[in-house]
Symmetry: none
Subunit: 151 residues, 2 copies
């Protein structure tokens, strides 16, 4: 499973070196094949090993087509899903459309989130993180799964 925050750089061709510690796992899991798509609520990209993505896509496609919220989710996520492959140096090439979506400049943050990564522009990530840290969660607003969580 993927976890942790990694500072990564995009070179002039839009290539991103996957941190070495993840490479072996990605090759085991999907022979180096990944899918990148957009996040529905934040300016970041989601990156899944291919088999993980296929499960997600199946779940999305089972949603009721006549429900506008479901339809929107399908269009955003399936519609932007792009095949990527690790090259000989362990890098992936991000198409410019996805780079623009996430406002990616030279330095970015690759965030492990279990079965996927999130890719943020570094500045966007820092800004959002500050907000999350400052937000106080009044216990009354928490859904029951969260309110009783013991870490």
């Amino acid at each position: 499973m993927f976890r942790g925050a990694n500072k990564v750089t995009l070179d002039s061709k839009g290539r991103l070196a996957m941190p070495t510690r993840y490479r072996e796992r990605i090759f085991e899991r999907s022979n180096g094949r990944l899918i990148a798509t957009v996040d529905r609520s934040d300016p970041c990209l989601l990156i899944y090993p291919l088999p993980e993505w296929e499960e997600i896509e199946l779940k999305l496609r089972r949603l009721p087509t006549l429900n506008p919220v479901a339809r929107r989710l399908q269009r955003l996520m399936i519609g932007h899903a792009t095949d990527l492959e690790l090259d000989g140096s362990g890098r992936i090439l991000l198409p410019s459309s996805l780079r623009e979506f996430a406002k990616l400049s030279k330095t970015a943050m690759l965030i492990g989130q279990g079965n996927r990564f999130e890719l943020w522009d570094e500045a966007q990530w820092n800004e959002s993180r500050e907000q999350w840290l400052q937000a106080e969660e009044p216990a009354e607003e928490l859904p029951p799964e969260l309110a009783s969580l013991s870490l």
Copy 2:
């Protein structure tokens, strides 16, 4: 279980010598493998033996992805979770991003908290401790789990 407060120092490379009395237990429990992540309400780091962390990560990952509060918690905790390993001298190397988060300078406090440690910058720790000691808790404001607590 881990308990007690230990003064520790970080060297110029960000390495921290784990107090000897914990080393054996850490090796038994996880072969020297630890996870460090950020605390969501205070400027300190949380350090878990790997198996302890895996339980927590599982709980976090089961939370609904579309819930913004859950998402925030996942991004902070799983997103900053970093694998650490005790080196030949019983030290761990804290990446600079985590050191910055907890405002760690040369001297820090490693606080045993049962299944995990908390790591504070020494000055931050002393300051917070003063505040906790001064704060009066009127019994009426306590949630039921606390109001009935017998220590």
